[in-house]
């Protein structure tokens, strides 16, 4: 059997749009994940029993089940709850919830790394409670956890491939359509794998550069 990459090369335009779809899914998912992550940590820090328990339960369930099962569950659960979303939006939501659970763990670790005396010093200086949280807890904690968040973002980008299972618009589902038309399975998946590798290497490099720029110390 001979390899024939020409049919894949002919579809370069669809692949390009698919790759953009993947980046869009990853980016939107990460934005939701950050919102979920910060909200979760704020709830945990309020130290009320029932809400904290719910957040912990959410984190444990998400972290101990496969993303594929989570996305299937959401895909079938939303319509039953009366919410009709297209697959791509459902996928973004699933990515956001999944990434959010990991973000809670990461952000909590960062927040706990800030010594309590620092918060007390801020309060003693007459800063408002919210100012103390933002300036003394959140921003230094973000600086500490930026590398973990960056690698979580790469992981989320790779996870988007699974969204093909509900036919969300992204690189893998585009590839599967090309495969169905051309029957060149290996060529298609080999090309997709290479594109993912390029995406994650470039993203890794960009995130590292961004981290050096945004979190240089002392603050810009």
């Amino acid at each position: 059997m001979t390899l024939d990459f020409s049919v894949v090369a002919d579809a370069w335009k669809s692949l390009l749009f698919g790759a953009l779809g993947t980046l869009f899914l990853a980016f939107s998912g990460m934005v939701i994940a950050m919102v979920v992550g910060v909200t979760g940590v704020v709830i945990l820090r309020m130290q009320m029993r029932i809400p904290s328990l719910l957040v912990t339960l959410f984190v444990e369930i998400i972290r101990n089940t496969p993303f594929l099962v989570q996305i299937f569950f959401l895909f079938f659960a939303l319509p039953l709850a009366g919410v009709r979303l297209n697959p791509t939006v459902t996928a973004i939501l699933a990515l956001g919830l999944n990434g959010g659970a990991y973000a809670i763990e990461i952000i909590r670790g960062g927040v706990e790394s800030i010594p309590k005396g620092q918060t007390e010093a801020g309060l003693a200086l007459g800063l408002h409670k919210h100012e103390v949280f933002r300036l003394i807890v959140l921003i230094p904690a973000l600086r500490a956890i930026y590398p973990s968040l960056a690698s979580q973002f790469i992981l989320l980008t790779l996870t988007t491939a699974i969204c093909t299972s509900i036919s969300a618009y992204e690189l893998t589902s585009v590839g599967q359509r090309i495969e169905a038309e051309t029957f060149r399975s290996f060529e298609v998946y080999f090309t997709l794998t290479s594109i993912y590798l390029v995406i994650s290497l470039v993203t890794m490099w960009l995130l590292a550069a961004l981290g050096r720029w945004a979190f240089s110390y002392p603050q810009r």
């Binding site: 059997m1 390899l3 444990e60 369930i61 972290r63 101990n64 089940t65 496969p66 993303f67 594929l68 099962v69 989570q70 299937f72 569950f73 079938f76 659960a77 039953l80 790469i154 790779l158 996870t159 988007t160 491939a161 699974i162 093909t164 299972s165 893998t172 399975s185 290996f186 998946y189 080999f190 997709l192 794998t193 993912y196 590798l197 994650s200 290497l201 890794m204």
Partner: protein, 214 residues
């Protein structure tokens, strides 16, 4: 959902466990090789391992499964689906475990191997008897964490058509039209396998952090 459907899911669960064990055992065997070559002073051994790790950490596991599933037959291997999936999972695990153990080997203070050298131990004994036992202990929490990832990762074999727990869930759900119940049960079964491992991993991590603080 009756007994029949539940039995079908449990059969899928056995395949999930089977894939996890194969991937993990294969990953341990090849991962040790990857880790040892990765810390080798020779760039001819080190650089290929850096690439191996980079490729597997930089591409989705789903793509690795697809490439193995469609690529191995092209090379003339006539593998059944489970074997192709196992090859992909083993290669995937070897890269991740190799990287975890690379970190652990390099975290063992260099004074240890220098002391072993001063005592006249040969090179392999320095690695096997002095560095590796300490590195093993250091790497245990991350290794357990990866085992959980791998167990969850086997669910992707469902997309290439292999009937493990998640695929069994899809089939049952199509039969009885109760997707929420079925995927709820499937999720609970995964949780039942992963949660104890996660707790164990966290305990190991805490114990190590307590040891480091002393």
């Amino acid at each position: 959902m009756g007994i029949q459907e539940l039995t079908y899911l449990l059969q899928g669960l056995l395949w999930t466990l089977f894939l996890t064990v194969i991937g993990f055992v294969g990953g341990i065997l090849f991962g040790i090789v990857v880790a040892v070559l990765r810390v080798s002073p020779s760039p001819w051994l080190r650089i290929p391992m850096i690439c191996w790790i980079g490729v597997f950490q930089g591409t989705p596991l789903l793509m690795q499964l697809f490439v193995a599933y469609f690529g191995l037959p092209l090379l003339g291997f006539n593998f059944p689906a489970w074997a192709a999936v196992s090859v992909a999972l083993t290669a995937h695990a070897s890269a991740f475990l190799g990287e975890i153990w690379r970190g652990a080997i390099q975290a063992v203070p260099s004074g240890q191997s220098e002391a072993a050298n001063a005592l006249g131990l040969p090179g392999w004994s320095r690695m096997v008897d002095v560095v590796m036992p300490q590195a093993f202990k250091l790497s245990l929490p991350a290794t357990v964490g990866f085992l959980v990832q791998l167990l969850k990762g086997t669910s992707l074999a469902a997309i290439v058509g292999f009937i493990e727990l998640t695929r069994a869930g899809t089939i049952v759900s199509n039969q009885i039209y109760k997707p929420l119940l079925v995927f709820g049960v499937v999720g609970a079964l995964y949780c039942a396998m992963c949660w104890p491992l996660s707790l164990w991993g966290r305990r190991l991590e805490q114990r190590m952090a307590a040891g480091a603080a002393k």
